[in-house]
């Protein structure tokens, strides 16, 4: 395939040969200091485990009540997509699409792509034959912001204060857990090892 076993720094493009890392070790680029690889504390299958957990949590996060608000006896149940619907009805359709993509669809797509790339090599339908999938993960990571939405909801609840009575619903906790899974899966996900290069587990970069 013409791909050698060198590791290339994500930012500066400096090439390194591979060494073996102990659990908890991190390999930094010798030239610019960017983190290139880390042997996670959670073991080699952590990315797969976190991705699948996140995908499962996405269902209750989308379906269960996010926040329940009450004002003078009037109770309103807000779900993940209520905000998107409100923006859409308000005529801000592009914004509604952006919020839907960054807050819901792309995090799930990122989890799906990382899960597909982390599947054990023995499986028949492993995704080696989809060569653009690593690049999709790279694009998605710039546009999936579940953790930002978690902070936004917390800020909103503080800001509402005495305007309305609010109670956090189970959907929000599931969404928080999903956001944590996205971050942890992404941390444990090793791009170099998922590229279709003949690279062994537990190896990383050295100058």
């Amino acid at each position: 395939m013409g791909i050698d076993a060198h590791l290339t720094c994500r930012l500066c493009g400096h090439e390194h040969r591979q060494i073996r890392l102990a659990p908890g070790d991190r390999a930094l680029c010798a030239r610019c200091g960017t983190l290139m690889a880390a042997e996670g504390r959670f073991g080699p299958d952590a990315a797969l485990a976190f991705s699948i957990t996140g995908l499962i949590l996405a269902f209750p996060a989308a379906l269960l009540p996010f926040v329940i608000a009450g004002k003078l006896g009037d109770v309103r149940v807000c779900r993940l997509f209520t905000a998107v619907g409100a923006l859409w009805d308000n005529g801000m359709r592009a914004l509604a699409v952006l919020v839907f993509l960054c807050g819901a669809l792309l995090p799930v797509a990122l989890l799906g792509a990382m899960a597909a790339l982390s599947l054990p090599a023995g499986l028949k339908w492993r995704t080696v034959e989809i060569p653009f999938l690593p690049r999709i993960v790279h694009t998605l990571e710039h546009w999936a912001f579940p953790e930002v939405q978690v902070l936004a909801v917390l800020v909103a609840l503080m800001k509402l204060g005495d305007l309305v009575d609010v109670a956090i619903g189970p959907g929000f906790w599931c969404y928080c857990a999903m956001a944590v899974c996205v971050v942890l899966a992404h941390r444990s996900f090793d791009f170099e090892l998922r590229d279709p290069a003949p690279v062994h587990r537990g190896t990383a970069a050295a100058p």
């Binding site: 030239r31 790279h138 912001f145």
Partner: protein, 179 residues
């Protein structure tokens, strides 16, 4: 060459500069137009990004005000200034402080997403607080401009290729050359 490092079609410094300028332009209406309007039992107010932060501060929610101020005002400004600095540094060939500039780029790349906070905040509030005449929150046009500015800064960061901060293989010392 590694697959994921092969150059993306639109990745160039002039694209990054154009997107950064567009983001700076969009930040003007984003900061001048109201982003949220609140109506509570006959009392109504419209807030811009800045006045919303000041209102949070006045209510005594200092930590929240600091978070919103950082995400909505500091981060977009820092991103644009940082990108401008990077783009100016590479205009006259390979800069000398490559390592510091690369760290700057990594920071810009990392903090950028948090400026979406205000967009999610406005979306969530306008979805949640819909109690007819008692209490209503409506997202206003400023938030669309702000979201556009955030998207443009993310695109600008993605378009900037930090490898231009470093000498190419041919310029580098023979030691780092990989046959």
């Amino acid at each position: 060459m590694n697959l994921r490092l092969s150059p993306v079609l639109f990745r160039s410094n002039s694209t990054a500069a154009a997107l950064a300028v567009a983001a700076a332009v969009m930040l003007v209406p984003a900061n001048l137009l109201p982003v949220l309007s609140t109506e509570t039992s006959g009392y109504s107010r419209s807030d811009t990004i800045f006045s919303g932060t000041v209102e949070l501060w006045r209510q005594g929610l200092w930590a929240i005000a600091a978070i919103v101020f950082t995400a909505s005002i500091c981060i977009p400004a820092v991103k644009l200034v940082g990108l401008g600095w990077l783009l100016l540094s590479v205009r006259r060939g390979v800069p000398r402080d490559s390592r510091r500039l690369t760290r700057t780029f990594a920071v810009i790349d990392f903090v950028g997403r948090w400026s979406m906070l205000d967009v999610f905040l406005a979306a969530f509030l306008s979805g949640l607080v819909q109690f007819g005449e008692f209490s209503t929150v409506q997202a206003r046009s400023g938030i669309v401009a702000f979201a556009a500015a955030v998207v443009l800064t993310v695109l600008a960061t993605n378009a900037f290729d930090p490898r231009v901060l470093w000498p190419t293989q041919a310029q580098a010392s023979p030691r780092s050359f990989q046959p």
